[in-house]
């Protein structure tokens, strides 16, 4: 599904990703763990299409060159990024944002757009599963939401859009234990044989709830070790400093 080969990324001549390679097959859950400044967020930014990076190397998504796709085209083709810091958009009702987003993606894929009632039924069901208060859906997007609410809102959007490749950028940070569990349930309910996940995190604790197929350790822009879920535990014990 996603093949990253020798990706190098620089910003203002500073090397952030250094010969980074990763292969994600359909249905797999990969976790990338690394300390601050290791290049985790740069990776999610580049995958989502954010500009401002000097990039070489290759990224293939469903065998197509990802760099040839605009940000929104990547979204249309099923790439979803749960943002580390979800943005506030004043004056834009959360429901309307979600509906606009869903219908933009459906339209791009030649599917029928949902009308107001169909959409409300869908969003109500998903919100209920995530224990996301319906009242918040009528508020301005992320305005006045707590950190946890913003993160839950990301997962709500993910569950509505039902993406093929979901990238979770430190979704667990700032969540209390209950919220963490709800978010993990949300992810687990989307785990299907064609849906893949890339989970970026500092901590092992999210991986208690979402069992990854692979864990990668990212230090200084490079994966220094890959393994199964046990790698996360080892890392938690030793710390990044002493890990080699």
């Amino acid at each position: 599904m996603l093949k990253i080969n020798n990706l190098n990324a620089k910003i203002d001549k500073k090397i952030i990703l250094n010969n980074f390679s990763l292969n994600i097959n359909p249905g797999e859950v990969h976790a990338i763990m690394g300390p601050n400044g290791s290049g985790k967020s740069t990776l999610s930014n580049i995958l989502s299409g954010k500009k401002g990076y000097d990039v070489t190397g290759e990224i293939l998504y469903e065998n197509k060159n990802l760099f040839e796709l605009e940000t929104e085209e990547r979204a249309h083709k099923g790439i979803f990024l749960a943002f580390q810091y979800p943005l506030e958009i004043p004056g834009v009702n959360t429901n309307i944002f979600l509906k606009t987003s869903l219908n933009a993606i459906r339209r791009a894929n030649g599917e029928k757009e949902l009308d107001a009632i169909e959409f409300l039924n869908l969003v109500k069901e998903k919100a209920k599963n995530l224990k996301f208060e319906e009242e918040k859906l009528n508020r301005q997007l992320n305005v006045g939401f707590s950190g946890g609410e913003k993160k839950k809102n990301e997962i709500l959007q993910m569950s509505i859009l039902n993406p093929k490749l979901s990238i979770l950028d430190e979704t667990d940070s700032g969540l209390d234990i209950d919220a963490l569990r709800i978010v993990a349930d949300g992810v687990n309910s989307l785990r299907k044989k064609n849906n893949s996940f890339l989970i970026i995190t500092h901590y092992q604790r999210l991986l208690d709830y979402i069992k990854p197929d692979f864990v990668h350790v990212l230090i200084n822009g490079k994966i220094i070790k890959s393994g199964g879920p046990e790698l996360a535990l080892e890392l938690e014990k030793k710390g990044y400093e002493n890990f080699n």
């Binding site: 605009e70 929104e72 979204a75 990024l81 004043p90 004056g91 834009v92 606009t100």
Partner: protein, 478 residues
């Protein structure tokens, strides 16, 4: 590919010209031209004298220069003050008599002049260059005693009403452009709503400048008699031309006891090209008088066009308990400039005013909100609430807020809030990651920013305005 699409969209949709022979007054501003205009309109002597008085006054006035946007000196002797399609020498009696080219122009503009468009339920008066072309729905309005016609026609048919109210809100001595308008105004709309009548439909005027080197000086007069209600909308477009064109209109609103006037503008004059060449100078005087007790005047404007917009739709709250409102969205892109806002003059007791202004600047443009809230010593227990928000796109544009606040009454209250924000790359990226393209993303964010004002527009126009907001800003990011 996207680049190309963008360029097409960026082009001004209304930038066509119509090839119609026109009758013009000789170029220049002088007594003869004013007499020519008055004569061709078969005006009564009092109106000619009124015009000449304004012209005398004009000679003593100077163009104001305190506004932020500066512009090259206008040669008033090099303009045509009257231009009418030739087929108008004899006023047409019905739509069938109109030049088909003219009908075609209005069709391109999407104005429902034709009979079959009656279903739209909007009565339209259309002004083409200097002449009012047609007024639809006349009969239906006449049944209720509502007068909606061109001001030229009103001068002929209802001279006592025109004489009683014309110039009572904007006196001929007011200021340079208002006085100029009084001397040379050509046409515009006239509305009279009789006592206790609620106008059953939106009344609407479309203004269009077609001929080159032509100034458009229209005059609109709306009177809402006791206990009546009217909602009025004006829209404006002009062809693309390299030279700047002057538009100096006067709009006077008068609300008597318990009457309400809602006046909405969607202004989309040609803004000039992306290098700032051409475009309309929109120097307009709009003022409403809440003459009676419990009366209300509400201005809503969506200003997206013109090279320079310079206007302050105002309310004089003379009647006790009267209410004035001003809702504004002003958008400037490329080299456009706007200096706009309102004046709320509180004279009566318990008067209230509300100002919501949303300014959006992009490209190399510059935007100023300028507003006056003046509470007189007699206006006990009066209140004003002002909120001015500015949104910047990119880092080459400007936004300024200049509020003038005068409160001479200790019982009264004034509140002012202002914010300035910027559309961030991150917000756009967020929306695009959710499948919206850049234009959709900008449209969504800006419409969110303007929501409180868009909600004030009549339904049909809210949709149009929402689209216009998106189109005006296309290509302004990235």
């Amino acid at each position: 590919m996207r680049e190309k699409e963008l360029n097409i969209l960026k082009d001004y949709k209304y930038g066509f010209t119509t090839d119609i022979e026109s009758v013009k007054a000789p170029k220049g501003l002088n007594q003869e031209v004013i007499r020519f205009i008055s004569n061709i309109k078969k005006e009564p002597q009092w109106l000619l004298e009124w015009r000449l008085k304004a012209f005398e006054r004009l000679k003593a006035l100077k163009e104001p220069d305190w506004q932020k946007p500066k512009y090259p000196k206008i040669d008033y002797q090099d303009l045509y003050y009257y231009s009418a399609p030739k087929s108008f020498k004899e006023k047409p009696n019905s739509l069938d008599d109109l030049d088909p080219k003219l009908l075609d122009t209005y069709k391109k503009l999407g104005i429902p002049l034709q009979e079959q468009k009656r279903l739209n339920g909007i009565a339209v008066d259309a002004v083409f260059d200097s002449v009012s072309v047609a007024t639809t729905f006349k009969e239906k309005l006449t049944e209720k005693g509502i007068i909606f016609c061109s001001i030229s026609e009103a001068v002929q048919k209802y001279p006592e009403l025109v004489k009683k109210y014309l110039g009572t809100v904007i006196p001929i001595t007011d200021h340079y452009f208002a006085t100029l308008n009084s001397a040379v105004f050509t046409d515009g709309s006239f509305v009279y709503i009789p006592p206790n009548i609620r106008c059953p439909m939106e009344l609407s005027t479309y203004f269009r400048i077609n001929a080159s080197d032509t100034g458009q000086f229209e005059r609109t007069l709306i009177i809402a008699d006791k206990g009546s209600y009217v909602s009025y909308l004006e829209g404006c477009t002009a062809p693309m031309r390299d030279e700047n064109q002057l538009h100096a209109a006067n709009v006077e609103l008068i609300a008597l006891d318990d009457a309400e006037i809602k006046y909405s503008t969607v202004q989309n004059w040609y803004p000039g090209d992306k290098d700032g060449k051409g475009g309309i100078y929109n120097f307009v005087t709009k003022r409403g008088l809440c003459k009676g007790k419990n009366s209300k005047i509400s201005w809503t404007q969506v200003e997206t066009g013109s090279a320079i917009t310079w206007k302050y739709p105002s309310c004089i709250l003379q009647g006790d308990n009267s209410i004035g409102e001003f809702y504004s969205i002003a958008i400037t892109n490329n080299h456009q400039k706007a200096d706009t806002g309102t004046k709320m003059i509180h004279l009566g007791k318990n008067t209230k005013s509300k100002i919501i202004s949303k300014g959006i600047s992009a490209g190399l443009s510059d935007m100023t909100y300028r507003g006056l809230v003046d509470i007189s010593s007699r206006a006990n227990n009066s209140r004003n609430y002002t909120q001015c928000d500015s949104l910047l796109m990119g880092n080459k544009c400007g936004a300024h807020t200049i509020p003038y606040i005068k409160n001479k009454n200790l019982e009264s209250n004034i509140e002012h809030e202002a914010t300035t924000s910027k559309i961030s790359e991150d917000q756009l990226h967020y929306c695009q990651q959710r499948g919206l393209n850049q234009e959709e993303a900008v449209g969504l964010i800006v419409n969110g920013f303007c929501k409180e004002v868009l909600q004030q527009l009549p339904m049909e126009f809210a949709v149009e305005a929402q689209k216009l907001v998106g189109i005006s800003l296309e290509g302004s990011v990235g």
